[in-house]
Amino acid sequence: MLYAILCYANEETVFAWTEEEEAAVMGNLHAVIEPLAAAGKLGPTGRLMPTTAATTVRKGRDEAFVVDGPFAETKEALLGFYTVDFETLDEAIAFSKQLSAVNPGSTSYEIRPFYTFRPGEIAS
């Protein structure tokens, strides 16, 4: 079974870490995931930038529209994610609009840049 492990935390606290605290936490996390990676059981991992760096493409009446920030007003759950590599935010918005156009639901797409991204590899 493949699992997606999604991390939710208090942004205000996390982004108030000092460089030392940050390094310590990242080091500890790294120690936990490293054996998994070595065993071929780790897929793509990433660390997201704060939600202030996010943009959301939301379903509109005619065309999808773009708003700053995360999709936070409702209690909708995170149901999946894509990882993409684009040069500009505009490309990411265009891609999200295409997804939005073919998605029948009221899905919003939050575009959030990565700080770090590890493609990883899961042995089949």
Binding site: N10, T13, A16, E21, P50, T51, T52, L89, P113, Y115
Partner: protein, 420 residues
């Protein structure tokens, strides 16, 4: 991170929101601060045992509000409210207040808290000290060490500044969109002042260097509550781009390393990436402003893999745009550096000599002027300009940087190529 370290961090990061809400509630800064303090003490007592609450900020507001009411009532000799330890883990009450205190409330609360520190009667350094004390919760001794004054002197300064602010009256009515925009501009200026107070320090371990991190934290907070403000995105982007060079700006001996000489592998890439993402978002709004333009200029440097790859034409265009939206001799002075790269030192010198009257008391003006004269081989007037710069230097590192340029110039002059 230990539990206590985590709690300290959670309390510090909840402070602006919680204190802002308590100030709105009590309409008195001292009462609000006391109530917050009391809530923090209770948090330190109860969180390690019961675990941290789901929403620390809401918990602190709830507990702080009750203890504040309690204190006010005790003073009024009216019966006190039930003990906080009984109500603090009432989940329903906590989520209720969290729901009512949505971000639109927090928004004006935090803005108000920062805005009252920016009282126009207070000199900039006092505004900074007050904001760091009240909003960020730094200790008086920490602030005093950063400003290199005694703790008693800083205590007095902050007390006087607070009295001034209180006397002026705190604006509690909900601001109009126009007032809100004005407050945002004023508060942004102060956040950038706090940043620069820290950034101008050579040693990143110095007390004041922490101010830069604090300013970034405040800008993140502001952007969180005003997510669609392109100038706030620009401000945060600008500060992240500047701080990304923290490890490269000074040599191990504490000497200034100029941008073009910095080891770019020491630049903090995650900060740069975040800054570029923010700038990208900001530019979509097509409402350029001084912070976005300055961030865009810094970003051109950050994108260049090597100093010689710098796109000076782009930087020149951005500086011209900046001169239009925010005309200032300092901006023109900065553009002169670009002009010297594009068209040589003489044209840059012609540009800055028009600024002589306005910038005569400015370190960078004389430093740049000396440098341009040096490039033109005009040793004697260069020396005069450098000496003037040294006299105006803010720090030992700045003075040492100019002295090295003088030494280099004299070494070169001592070995004239004309003498075979």
């Amino acid at each position: 991170m230990t539990d206590i370290a985590w709690i300290d961090l959670a309390l510090a990061s909840a402070r602006p929101k919680a204190l802002g809400a308590l100030l709105r509630y009590f309409r008195n800064l001292d009462t609000a601060e006391e109530a917050f303090q009391e809530a923090c003490l209770r948090a330190i007592r109860t969180w390690p045992e019961k675990g941290p609450p789901r929403d620390p900020t809401a918990w602190l507001i709830f507990v702080g509000r009750n203890s504040g009411i309690d204190a006010v009532r005790k003073r009024a000799k009216i019966q006190a409210l039930p003990d906080e330890d009984q109500i603090s883990d009432r989940e329903d009450a906590e989520s209720d207040i969290a729901d009512r205190l949505d971000d639109s409330h927090y928004r004006d609360d935090i803005l108000r808290l920062l805005f009252i520190c920016c009282h126009p009667d207070l000199p900039a350094t006092q505004q900074i000290a007050l904001a760091l004390r009240i909003v960020s919760g730094l200790s008086v001794s920490q602030i005093a060490r950063a400003f290199l004054v005694s703790e008693t002197a800083m205590e007095q300064r902050i007390t006087r500044a607070k009295a001034r602010v209180t006397k002026a009256g705190v604006p509690f009515e909900t601001p109009s969109p126009q007032e809100r925009a004005e407050r945002l501009t004023i508060v942004s200026t102060m956040i950038y002042l706090i940043f620069n107070e820290g950034y101008s320090q050579a040693d990143p371990k110095q007390e004041a260097a922490a101010f830069s991190d604090e300013a970034i934290r405040l800008a993140r907070l502001m952007l969180h509550i005003f997510p669609a403000e392109p100038e706030l995105m620009g401000l945060l982007s600008l500060m992240l781009l500047q701080i990304s060079r923290r490890q490269a700006r000074f040599s191990a001996e504490g000497e200034i390393v100029l941008l073009e000489d910095q080891d770019r592998s020491l630049w903090n890439q995650p900060f740069i990436n975040e800054a570029l993402a923010l700038l990208d978002k900001a530019l979509r709004h097509r409402r350029p402003g001084p912070y976005q333009l300055q961030a865009a200029i810094a970003a051109v440097h950050s994108r260049a893999k090597r100093a010689e790859d710098t796109d000076w034409v782009e930087i020149d265009l951005l500086y011209r745009a900046l001169e239009r939206v925010q005309p200032s001799p300092v901006v023109t002075l900065n553009r002169a550096v670009v002009v010297s790269k594009l068209n040589g030192p003489q044209e840059a010198l012609d540009l800055i000599e028009q600024l002589d009257e306005k910038l005569d008391g400015y370190f960078y003006y004389h430093g740049l002027r000396g440098n341009l004269l040096k490039q033109l081989g005009r040793i004697a007037p260069a020396r005069v300009a450098f000496d003037r710069a040294i006299a105006l230097a803010h720090s030992a590192a700045e003075a040492a940087h100019i002295r090295r340029q003088i030494d280099k110039m004299q070494e070169e002059a001592a070995q004239p190529a004309a003498k075979p």
